[in-house]
Symmetry: C3
Subunit: 319 residues, 3 copies
Amino acid sequence: MIGNSGLVITGAVHLDSDKDGSISFIGSTAYLNKWESSKVTAAVIQEKLVQDNLPGDGRAFVVVKNADLAMAKILELFTPDAIIFNEAINRSAVISETAKIGQNAKIGANCYIGNEVQIGANTTIYPNSTILDNAIIGDHTIIKSGTVISERCVIGDSCIIHTNVNIGTDGFGYRPSDDGRSIVKIPHIGNVEIGNHVEIGSGTCIDRGKFDATIIGHGTKIDNLVQIGHNCKIGMSTLIAGCTGISGSVTIGNGVTIAGHVSIKDHINIGDGVTIGGKSGVINDIAAGQTVLGFPAMEVKKTLRKWAVLNRLIKTGNN
Amino acid sequence: MIGNSGLVITGAVHLDSDKDGSISFIGSTAYLNKWESSKVTAAVIQEKLVQDNLPGDGRAFVVVKNADLAMAKILELFTPDAIIFNEAINRSAVISETAKIGQNAKIGANCYIGNEVQIGANTTIYPNSTILDNAIIGDHTIIKSGTVISERCVIGDSCIIHTNVNIGTDGFGYRPSDDGRSIVKIPHIGNVEIGNHVEIGSGTCIDRGKFDATIIGHGTKIDNLVQIGHNCKIGMSTLIAGCTGISGSVTIGNGVTIAGHVSIKDHINIGDGVTIGGKSGVINDIAAGQTVLGFPAMEVKKTLRKWAVLNRLIKTGNN
Amino acid sequence: MIGNSGLVITGAVHLDSDKDGSISFIGSTAYLNKWESSKVTAAVIQEKLVQDNLPGDGRAFVVVKNADLAMAKILELFTPDAIIFNEAINRSAVISETAKIGQNAKIGANCYIGNEVQIGANTTIYPNSTILDNAIIGDHTIIKSGTVISERCVIGDSCIIHTNVNIGTDGFGYRPSDDGRSIVKIPHIGNVEIGNHVEIGSGTCIDRGKFDATIIGHGTKIDNLVQIGHNCKIGMSTLIAGCTGISGSVTIGNGVTIAGHVSIKDHINIGDGVTIGGKSGVINDIAAGQTVLGFPAMEVKKTLRKWAVLNRLIKTGNN
């Protein structure tokens, strides 16, 4: 720590904030340049950026190896309380007599909890959520408002399911009618099984399997407005960013990173540790460890070379 | 049938399942190769794959012309019961006195049914759904939880509208203000009219027309997270896969197949029987029967040739 | 006005409608060609299209400088009543004792209004909406069914928030765990602040900031199924069409037009008055006033030239 060690810090802010008694972070030279004119009194600062800089009169630097990481931990200290449930189980919630509600579970106003549903201990269901028959929700899980967990689906422990999420919609599968003149729905009798420590963003849809389960592995984090088709098997600690669409029967490994607006064709296999760049369209299997980009998605260097070739072609006489 | 005809089958599973007394399907050599080590006792199998193969001790093959189709029909046999409504009309639902509710209709907990709404016979409204004033829902239709049918919209018979669907949002139309300094909303006084046997996936949005109706034809199936703009006219038995966005005033024929993450520009006409490949961007009309791909979408062969040309260019000295 | 000035007009329709006593609009030669066979009795018509044309027996033209604009204003006259709230505050709504509800506010059936929430005067909350603790909603604002305004978020005056919208979901931010073996959620302690006269489409998600606010400026209009990441700052009178995904920490100016299915990388800056064509992928900053297209998005002329070059390459021997 450099500078005034007697400061009382009551919040975390950006450098351009004018809130008194706050701390911010300096993770790059650009941020360092803003420091002098900033009204913020303290900052965590990346070690290599300190050099000869002093925080200035009455201000302080907390010198750290990784400013991003330090700030993430500071935010944990300043996290405000979650919403308050004035009754643990709101009297307006409609709960089947055959549902089992765990100890210290909270159920918000106007929820519906169906027949034979199991809600784990210390789990919180926000107002206006719907949990349909025979669904099972683990312990310490949070289900936010407007979300629907459809019949027979299983959610693990310590998950966060954000607002208006759709778990267990029927897969998009049809067959021609016997007379070949129309399309007939194929029943989807499977379910969705979600591991522990999974987070699922608002509006996201995960379809139920045709016969068995669509699976989301432990620790996987899925952003808003993502579509995951029937029968997908997604590994552990995988990240899937917003607006991505994954067709049916796709298999995705562990530790995969999928950026936003990616599309993945049905029945594709994606190995462990793969990275898929934003807006890519994946139509071939991807081996473990690869980084791909573009449509059709291929090794990132190849796609960047294509982009460069096209830029050159429009500059030459060839147009 | 080949093999043990005395088996009792109680479920349908994938070949890698270990559930006793189940049936699976063998539609390709890859699946056939898994059969010997599989614990499943019976399988429907594509005729041409049988040849010399026998199911093995105590196991059975049901030989069929189309294993996919046969399995779809088997799933119909094993479809579990839908959710159970403990009261036909849940006492927590708020239903306007001027709404007309058909015979044997079921209305779940915490639904809202507005003024002058009509709900058909044998129609089921899942918990936490909202049907606003003057909407009309046909017979034998299912509306799942969290879905909102906005005022004056019309849904046909035998439809399935999945969770958190949005029918009848105002179209995205604005005009400059008279002083040219801001944007003013154009009222959308039309509605949405959905035919019979239509299925609509979770989170999907269908906007109301500016003056008249946005129309979805009989038998059309729409996947999750699809956006359909104001004044679109979509034909019969058309399939639209997930994450597709269709701008305003697009006309789409009958028997069209649109894959996932497709974008269609406003005022485009798409003929009957067209197929649009995944992630395509359609900016020109498409004549009946064509198959298109890419952005800009064009005849699939042309797009594949472009992809091949680019692959060649980055391999040659031209980069 | 040309023709029969004694007509009584009771609705606005398309030229192919057969509703008596209605008015339509003629903004192009294509529409003019439909006029003679149309059953519609009156039309607003673009000045330059009139020339020698007469409306015909008993019919009328209203000649205007801008038929689109005139029609938008006519629609305002024919806008039907909004839904009727039979009780201003429905008795089934669950409203915290510490919430402050403004004069003439309406709250629909089965809503939840959390602790310390403030709802402005003349604001309408449709049935089955959820407003969580400490959120603030301005005056004359409409919040439609299924929408969730999460804790501490702020919505301005005269906004329209359509159905199943998600305001204030946690941003998609994680850090490696201390042992490097899993991913840990970064708390998002900021909120979302939405200006006045903002409209937000169905299913759209706006994430809360990490420390401070995600901001949407006055008069900005956002379509359905749009994703806006944490810490974005979006200016005034900007239009964002459906299915667009905007990553975290993006800054967007005033009067920007973003078409459908656009993707924008994190930390990008987009100047005032920019236009971004449909399905573009923006990976570089865009200076004020530019029009861009494609992936990677660049000056629209350059992208069109690339498309032309590729079309030429597949026609020559080069394939």
